[in-house]
Assembly symmetry: D2
Homo-oligomer: 147 residues x 4
């Protein structure tokens, strides 16, 4: 059973922009990398190719609030928390802390809501129940962590 996951990364040069800071779109790539590492920590991939049809977890809603910029070579932590769990959907909260600042400043806070879908051979994406072996391992984080 798990409701959180922490990942550390260092800002890469290709993730910065001409304002000298991480391009805002890359926070979504960071969130996704934490989400996928969370699944791997449970023994699964987010691309479930052994199911027929194969299952995946596309996003239906995402958001991010930016508080302080991240810069090249800053070390930061992504803290994933499970915010909501439904039969066919999961919602995550992500807190970014800049470990290269004295007080581990919160850099941003974001969210992803994903649905489980079956990839049909004709290209259609059809919503599906999250497989039991995965669903049973994931539960919602305590409210005090989601504040």
């Amino acid at each position: 059973m798990a409701y959180e996951f922490k990942l550390q990364r260092r800002v890469e040069f290709s993730e910065t922009d001409a304002a000298g800071i991480v391009h805002f779109s890359n926070f979504f790539r960071y969130m996704e990398s934490a989400e996928h590492a969370f699944f791997r920590s449970l023994g699964f991939s987010v691309m479930l190719k052994d199911y027929d049809p194969p299952l995946g977890f596309p996003r239906v809603h995402v958001e991010c609030d930016y508080r302080a910029p991240l810069r090249f070579e800053d070390l930061f932590e992504i803290h994933l928390l499970v915010r909501e769990k439904k039969p066919k959907a999961l919602s995550y909260l992500f807190k970014f802390r800049n470990l290269s600042t004295a007080s581990s400043l919160e850099a941003a806070r974001g969210g992803l809501t994903v649905v489980c879908v079956a990839h049909h051979p004709d290209g259609r994406l059809v919503s599906a129940k999250i497989p039991h072996p995965i669903a049973e391992q994931i539960h919602v984080a305590p409210p005090e962590l989601l504040g």
Copy 2:
């Protein structure tokens, strides 16, 4: 005076992912490209280097809702609408339509809230009023377009 801007793009291969669709993070790059083209259409750049200190428009909040995937070589329209205007901030709504589908299906709907900041030489970003020549050209879209 302007409250909207439309831009057409075609999905590039490097914007797709192994699920065969545009990676969700790229919708934010698309929104930004429309925002910057909107500014150019008014005669300005979003990087205001002639001000001292230089001004820019970092994001404080962004979000996106995904309804139907975009695929390689799909032609789509990004419709920018000014959602809110404050002395130091602007908020945009973006509607994505897939022009490669029969009914120009709405693929996604997103938003960016940006603040005007001064880039001080010591690296600090300090919020600032949107310069008058820009602010006077931008107004909020009629409510019926924002629905």
Copy 3:
């Protein structure tokens, strides 16, 4: 019959890095966008899904020489030239000119060598002859353009 293609683009903010210039890796995305537009101009996609197994054109060798940086909002031209044509492979030369400079300065020169492959259902990529309807439309550029 075609041996060249020209495409204009404007540098987007998300393509720049903290050095204030286009990140060097993005020149390869630019080359690819010109290659794909070249194929579309001939009436084809580079993803040939109607073949069984489907055909594609992965890269086997790429290179780029950088001469002058491109910056945010610079307008530039990508000039694709067919450098070599073999039964299963094509090689392209790309010349980048910065149209935002007085003399349309050459910013970079790059190359892509691609092979035609069949995507077998088991995941294997097997080299294949370029389909005749495509191959017959492409020929090598005159030597004086390749200098």
Copy 4:
């Protein structure tokens, strides 16, 4: 004194494309991440802001040969080797091995040639000698490793 550096990474979903493999342009981002980690291992950043004017290492030539694709979640090794050292330039060779295959298959082999430049306040980039504290720590790899 150092002439090599090894880095392990796992393929992220946002690095793949609709062909189901790592987009070829991302190998250059991987090379750069190894180059920057190599510099950090020597106690330096590639952005030398304490020099006046600040120094950096833009690329003048890059290339890559692709042998076998990398796929989502593959674990791979980037092996950086110093190929050439000049007063104002460095050239690196990079060997990519896919650690998720039985035989740690070589996936690609690439190269970067970088020059040391001073970023003048007026925007000009002027070539400069690599600072002695850095240059003295880097030497060329033995020929048998560069084969």
